[in-house]
Assembly symmetry: C2
């Protein structure tokens, strides 16, 4: 789980419970499913989304049996999208661990992703909270639609900022937001608090994704484990590109991108044009605006230990370079 939750031993313990819950669910179905899920969990990252569920639930009367299930459902949905992304990208490693795609083949990877999607909704539906199940199912569909639009936008240079923001809202911010919201609801938070948490999740998700997209332009992709200009090479034009195209250096970049760069060298060259045109700085300013909005939402929460934790997490997430 890396060191992201160092200093939050209680949360780390709870996240361990969530992992166990996911594994247990997999065990009831089939030994092959269990093996696949075990493999995926061995490469699980920060487990941000379940952590958000757990943190949000502390603003109400958390009932661990329920909140842990909701947290597991949210992580399973996220895992499903990662597994399917790796198939789509033909990725062979994620966070240093071979992808399921690479070890078990695309066939099993497609099916395990489907199993995760179905089991995620199933976990929540079983709790009997129709509204939460509705939200989760709707957001799953939205994430897919967002990815489909990103997929058909590939190679289209002149995407508007608005379309980009809508895309990352569907792709990332919606699930961040849902995680906070269902955590709050499951623990019976008063509506004003759960609304603040939902907005916090949205802003945090937007800022997080923009920074993720910026990190794709780092000169050495060592810490993220992805090569520089990976998105560019796939014809995915993110905020730094969109904003760079509007500067003086825009036309030069535009002609360089007339077709998506095929080699990693030409991707690195295009990334340099984006940096030189000031695309990174401009994108950082947009991310900073979301960080500020996140902190403003946090300031409206009751002054508890959890609020301080959220401040710390926001700082770590939105000032990270990994």
């Amino acid at each position: 789980m890396g060191s992201f939750w160092d200093g939050f031993p209680e949360l780390e313990r709870e996240l361990e419970d969530v992992r166990t819950l996911i594994l247990d669910r997999a065990s009831t179905d089939d030994r092959d499913v269990r093996a696949a899920i075990e493999h995926l969990l061995s490469a699980s990252g920060k487990m941000l989304r379940p952590a958000f569920v757990l943190l949000a639930s502390r603003f109400g009367q958390a009932e661990p049996r329920r909140t842990h299930r909701v947290a597991a459902a949210v992580e399973m949905l996220h895992m499903a999208t990662l597994v399917h992304d790796d198939i789509i990208d033909g990725a062979s490693r994620r966070r240093g661990v071979p992808t399921l795609n690479a070890t078990a083949g695309a066939r099993t990877a497609v099916l395990v992703g489907d199993w995760l999607l179905a089991s995620s909704v199933s976990l929540i539906v079983d709790l009997g909270e129709t509204q939460d199940a509705r939200a989760l199912a709707a957001i799953t569909a939205r994430i897919c639609a967002g990815e489909i639009s990103q997929s058909t936008d590939r190679g289209v240079i002149h995407t508007s900022v608005r379309r980009y923001l809508r895309r990352i809202a569907a792709k990332t911010a919606a699930l961040f937001s849902l995680s906070f919201y269902v955590g709050a609801r499951e623990s019976g938070c008063p509506e004003p608090i759960s609304s603040i948490l939902r907005r916090l999740g949205y802003c945090l998700g937007m800022g997080f994704q923009i920074i993720d997209d910026i990190l794709d332009f780092r000169q050495e992709g060592a810490r993220t484990g992805k090569p520089t200009g990976n998105d560019l090479a796939q014809g995915i034009y993110t905020l730094p590109v969109i904003l760079a195209l509007r500067t003086e250096g825009g036309p030069r970049l535009g002609s360089a991108l007339r077709r998506p760069p095929r080699s990693s060298r030409s991707a690195a060259r295009a990334a340099e044009l984006v940096r030189d045109a000031g695309g990174i700085e401009a994108a950082r300013r947009v991310a900073a605006a979301y960080t500020e909005r996140s902190l403003r939402e946090i300031a409206r929460l009751p002054a508890t230990d959890t609020r301080r934790t959220l401040e710390g997490v926001t700082a770590r997430l939105l000032h990270r370079d990994y």
Copy 2:
């Protein structure tokens, strides 16, 4: 929709409504999603599962607005599995129409399948019937687990009949059964009737899948549009093979299958060994037993027009050669 529902104009009209409902759902999300779904619907087959929902609902007080949604959800789940199957198999055509995989690429196909899965559950959850949503989500997970076990069984010759039956129960019969059951429940059928319908769906599904597997051994694969011995070539050993292995011709077949046949010619040769050993006839007897059980369940239903329709459908499905 072919001619399967010829003679049932009312049902054909209702199925048309179901298709419209699916398309409408797709339209709310994204134009790219809509285009993909439109393409898929243009190649939709008999629409058995939604028809089962509609037929079952006639044993209660059907409320079209609800039953049509349930029927759409069930078909969307089925569509999702087909889309993902086509990616897995690298299929370029289905029912004579290019697969989504072939026209839009694996990337979009993975995502559209995911969108269908999520939207299917979402449609049912929106109806507020937790029990039905639970059943649908659970069955989706079960279908995936069944496919995963089929996937890891590939190339394993000595599968037991029991494991085969469990596999097709998960892959096909579970959703047939669910379709009848939710149709009945949504229209407020008394429990004894909905139990009969659920069992009918199960038996019909088992018989249907066994016949489907038998048809893979036809000498000319003209009507199914698949080459002879397609399953064999993929190392998927179905009931005819499993039963043929137990006959006098078994050892010869066993050594022929020591590795999955790679060329279509060697697949056709292995299929001939299965036929010669009497594997087809033996499998037909198992299918016939399920047909009989289906007819027995139907006989226990109230004697209505719908019951007669079900008798006709069962005969068409279980005596088909396409």
